[in-house]
Amino acid sequence: MTAAQPLLAAVDVHAGYGQHPVLHGVDLAVAAGESVALLGRNGMGKTTTIRALIGLTPISGGSVQLDGQPVTGLPAHRIARLGVGLVPEGRGIFPNLTVAEHLAVAARSSGGRGPAWDRTAVLALFPRLAERLDHLGTQLSGGEQQMLAIGRALMTGPRLLILDEATEGLAPRVRAEIWSVLARIRGEGVAILIVDRDLPQLLHLCDRAAIVVKGRIAFQGTAAALAADRAMQQRWLGV
Amino acid sequence: MLTSFHSRPGRRRFLAGAAAATATVLAPAPFVLARPAPIRIGVLLPYSGTYAMLGTAITDGMKLSLAQAGETLAGRPVEYIIVDSEASPQQAPQNTRKLVVRDRVDVLVGPVHSGVALAMAQIVGARGAPLMIIPNAGADALTRELCAPNVFRSSFSNWQTGYPCGKVMADDGHRSIVTITWRYAAGDEIMGAGAEHFEALGGRVIKHIRVPFPDVSFQAHLSEIASLAPDAVFAFFSGGGAVQFVRDYAAAGLKARIPLYGPGFLTEGVAGAQGEAADGIRSTMHYVDDLDIPVNRRFRDAYRDAYGREADVFAVQGYDTGTLIARSATAVDGDTSAVGDMAAALEGIRLEGSPRGAWQMSPAHNPTQTFYLRDVVDGRHRVLGVAAEALADPATGCTLA
């Protein structure tokens, strides 16, 4: 579809929780530097797809490759170290770590694979965090937490940044800021896989889009094609 | 430690014995060497937990005695059925029944712990069988209120171990003492006997300090003793508590200022672990390692040869227990069903061959024995003299006498 060897390639991925299968064969590819929107109604398997890709939910069938290397079944921390950064649903801020510690604990040399982000670069991206370096995670506002979650993920030096509902519950002004930052990150050559409710913004940011329906990918194509197809949006996204 | 378990029979050996007995009955008589059924000795002693060392020494002493008797009693081989009492009173009734009811032992030996002993003696006393010999537990009641025709003790009563020490302290010129022990029956009985004797001789007890049993943090109490500044301290702890108390006492600088007295258990078996801190502590005891009499020297050599360890007072109590078993079984010519006759053979018996020196069984079934005054030099006990000759427990409340 895209490049000869995508950065991330999931083929026929099955996964679920306990005895409840959620994914029934997800195929998904993200090329280096590309940004992809992952869409779908609630409960269709977006978050599970993300968790399966990064190794947090065990995969019961199919395979995942990073750079052509199989990573299926690898523990999450190994996959993370191969250059995948996560901004999870709910932000996952550590209440007992300060802002500075969040950045420090995530920092690792990316081995030259992804763009190198250091504390200075991240704080330049989010000047507000620079004023809050000694605050604990619990002392931050929602927007600041979201910025920290993104900044923290960048500190791992990712080639692929995965964001799950990164603008949810935020004030419009903060949202706008996040979207603009995401655009800048994209500009640095980081691939992005993003789940969000804001379809116009997504279609604006992303090259391509994929729609998850009942644990399968029902559509995968360019953002422009999805933007043009009102009927499909209506059918699978309810917009 | 493991050596003592090499001959641990358990149920398998018991079954083997039973099989042999059956074979004797079934096989055509002329072709079989008569192998009489073994005399079963049920042993309920601790082999794990705090008192494990005592249980092992008692068992070894008893086995040595019976081995010297030729491993047979009136022609019947000896078989041990050993149960670990874990020194846990809770299991005592169950374990006792196991030996008495299921295994039908001919003689019951045990235990170390007084609480266990009270439970055992009650069961065995009420049944009137089998013959029971207590090789250690010192609870006064065992040979007082709870005394029973078929229950004997080969060790001591708590009262006996404390009483002579009162006189020793008075004789040494002390006018005031502080007593310290665990808050439990043995502590009360031993300290009570010694303190009463001391007061009767004109001394004054400034304070009775009681430490929660079996707690071993003494520092606060040592500071208290230092402020009270008595002439002497009368202390009873045993095992790990004794090790730590004596060492802490010395480390707090009290040893040089206030002499320490106690029943023998304060240093017995633990003087090595106590090291220099034990030097000079005076105690009264019914046995001393270095007791210079021929029976003791022979006993200690034999024990060392058999087990590769030095004997201690518990080994002696075990040894005397073995002797009592042998005497009672021989007296009934191996017919251990005659419990009354076995007991009668032990009434007033005098054990000339005891390593602790000759002693006599009192009417209440407790040894009437000599208590020695000793101190510790370089980790060894030294006999200083006799603290009380032929001391008998008052046996208050015993209906046997």
């Binding site: 990064i54 190794g55 947090l56 523990p75 999450a76 921390h77 993370a80 170290r81 996560l86 999870p88 996952g92 550590f94 209440p95 007992n96 770590l97 510690e101 420090a104 604990v105 995530a106 690792r108 923290r152 993920a153 791992t156 | 430690m1 493991l2 794990s48 937990g49 705090t50 494990a52 060392m53 092992t56 300090i209 009681r210 929660p212 707690d215 071993v216 943090s217 520092q219 606060a220 109490h221 500071s223 208290e224 230092a226 402020s227 500044a229 095992g239 790990g240 508590g241 090790v243 730590q244 060492r247 802490d248 480390a251 707090a252 600088g253 009290l254 633990v270 672990a273 106590q274 090291g275």
Partner: protein, 289 residues
């Protein structure tokens, strides 16, 4: 009680508190960070004391014994975590309680197999064997003061490790949100093994340091385990700071309880714990659940 007597007993209480903290800190770390209720903590304390006894006999030096002993305990801790505890992180706390209960039985028996049932003691190193005069009647053993110093050093070391190092940050991160830490590339499995081994080593280290001022005997870990639990709960589960406060409170309350109300002395610390829990169910330094 006169002032001198009071101050001496206060010193006793604080000194006891320091040693208790050493034991409790390992328990609270394991408890708070990897969520494991380790009933075998006291058994590891006992193993430490026996190692001190055994290795001091072999090497003639308590210092050497502690160095080798800590290494042995770390290996033991890693083994136990890898072979057993590690499988239980996602299970009910009760399963951990039961498993570590089984571990107590096994360790107690192993101790008996290896070292027998004798009481032992470890000599106080010659350099530390003296006493300093406090009052005319009172001396204070130098080794007890030394133990306090060691405990303070360990407390500071733990504080630096947890609060100031990158490993400490990773530990705190993993403790509050394991999956997120994993997603940041932190090998939480290995970190938890490390924390468990650290807890075991701390318990054993406490046993080693305490060995010269306490006899070494079977079952010595039982009482210390319950004490450590009381301290951890008073201080707030998972809080090292809380463990310190709890240990001091228990050490001092216990010491004065013995002298002032000897009849109920052993209940004093449980009373303190009950009062603290009823007033602040989460403990002194715990965060409300």
């Amino acid at each position: 009680m006169d002032l001198a007597g009071f101050l001496v007993q206060l010193l006793n209480g604080v000194q006891a508190g320091f040693l208790l903290f050493l034991v409790a800190s390992g328990l609270t770390l394991v408890f708070g960070i990897i969520g494991v209720i380790n009933l075998a903590h006291g058994a590891f304390y006992m193993i430490g004391a026996y190692l001190a006894f055994w290795l001091t006999g072999l090497t003639g030096s308590l210092l050497a014994a502690v160095v080798v002993g800590v290494a042995v305990l770390v290996v033991l801790g890693i083994a136990v975590e890898r072979l057993a505890i590690g499988f239980l992180y996602n299970r009910d706390h009760l399963q951990q309680v039961l498993l570590t209960f089984g571990l107590i039985l096994v360790l107690d028996d192993l101790q008996r197999l290896i070292w027998g049932s004798d009481f032992h003691s470890v000599p106080v190193p010659a350099v530390l064997s003296g006493a300093v005069a406090l009052t005319q009647q009172q001396d204070y053993p130098v080794y007890r003061l030394f133990v306090s110093a060691v405990c303070i050093a360990v407390a500071l070391g733990l504080f630096v490790l947890i609060q100031r190092t990158r490993v400490g940050m990773a530990i705190r991160a993993a403790a509050s949100n394991r999956e997120m830490a994993e997603a940041l590339g932190i090998d939480v499995g290995r970190l938890f093994t490390l924390v468990f081994a650290l807890g075991v080593a701390l318990a054993g280290f406490a046993g080693m340091v305490a060995a010269p001022i306490s006899a070494v005997y079977p079952g010595m870990g039982d009482r210390i385990l319950i004490l450590a639990f009381v301290i951890v709960v008073i201080g707030g589960i998972g809080s090292v700071k809380g463990a310190f406060a709890g240990a001091m409170l228990v050490g001092i309350a216990d010491t004065f309880g013995r002298v002032l109300v000897p009849e109920v002395a052993s209940m004093v610390m449980y009373g303190v714990m009950a009062v603290v829990l009823l007033w602040r169910p989460q403990g002194l330094f715990g965060r409300p659940a």
